[in-house]
């Protein structure tokens, strides 16, 4: 079976992307990344801690195996996001970018207007933009029209592990999409990821559910399998859902008079 995910011309075998925040150690992070089978991991930009300047998590990531996807977390508006994007490119040479604009520090939900504005600027500057958005089908379409590489609607608030609370809106986004749809934020268990993939999502991004699991490495492997399971089920074509029962054993040949 040849079932590659293609984003901006680049092929991926794995449809699971991993966020690198909140791991208890760089070692656990690296092992979880390995176990997940991912090919791309997100990273954030932050000021160097001057008191402790040499804690370098990047050393733990084998960049031959894993693409980096810098994000603009912390940006509260389009200007801050664009500034972070440019720094990320300067730092890494990478033009791919997970665009996040979250004005509210409590719910960390994305700003549709500023996200669109930043996306328009960054696409023009040659970035491959993967915007994190609310599950808003109209916004997803506007971003597509603006030239983003994917849309990344949220399942539920970041780090909440609540699962696919936006299912009906994501169904519409998928139905309308001309770019890959990556479900991001709030997927708390492998079954949530499988459900998103079964609906026809192209990929999922998971961070907290793995990093904050009691055993992150085992959980990463669980998500790997669930994403594969969900994708295969989507391709295999699910059986029809029925209101009534439908016997699995034959309805003839009963042992009766």
């Amino acid at each position: 079976m040849n079932d590659k995910l293609i984003i901006a011309g680049k092929e991926f075998d794995s449809r699971l992307f991993i966020g690198t925040g909140k791991f208890a150690s760089n070692k656990i992070m690296a092992d979880a990344i390995e176990a997940s089978g991912t090919q791309m991991v997100t990273v954030a930009l932050r000021r160097v801690d001057i008191e402790n300047p040499n804690d370098n998590m990047l050393a733990a990531i084998d960049r031959k195996k894993y693409l980096l996807l810098p994000n603009t977390s912390g940006a509260r508006n389009a200007d801050e996001a664009v500034r972070l994007a440019r720094l990320a490119r300067a730092a890494t040479g990478i033009t791919w970018l997970k665009l996040e604009v979250t004005p509210d520090p409590y719910y960390l939900l994305p700003d549709p207007v500023e996200t669109l504005k930043a996306a328009e600027i960054l696409v023009k500057e040659g970035f491959v933009v993967l915007p994190y958005i609310n599950a808003d089908p109209v916004l997803a379409k506007k971003l597509q029209d603006a030239g983003v590489a994917t849309v990344m609607p949220l399942a539920s608030p970041i780090g909440s592990n609540q699962g696919l609370k936006t299912k009906s809106a994501i169904e519409i986004i998928i139905a309308q999409a001309t770019v890959p749809v990556i479900v991001d934020a709030g997927l708390g268990m492998p079954s949530h990821a499988a459900e998103a993939m079964e609906m026809g999502a192209d990929a999922v991004l998971v961070n907290t559910a793995i990093a904050a699991a009691k055993n992150p490495v085992q959980m990463a492997d669980a998500f790997k399998k669930a994403v594969q399971a969900g994708r295969q089920a989507f391709l295999a074509g699910g059986a029809e859902v029925k209101q009534q029962a439908d016997a699995s054993s034959p309805l003839t040949g009963f042992l009766r008079e």
Partner: protein, 68 residues
Amino acid sequence: MTVLRINGEDKHFEILPATLANLLDLMKVDAATVVAEIDGQIIKKDDFDSAKLSASQKIELIRLVGGG
């Protein structure tokens, strides 16, 4: 004493480091892992040696960290 504003905080130097590369050395920051802005202009790694510093500049030293 001269001052540089580094990552939002004033840092005082008896002698101003001549270049960004010198500053990083002084601060024991591995230049390979950071990106910098001086007064809002991004300085590429290749230019760290040639980037002259002057008093009161705003310098941002940024690095990749874990994030989702």
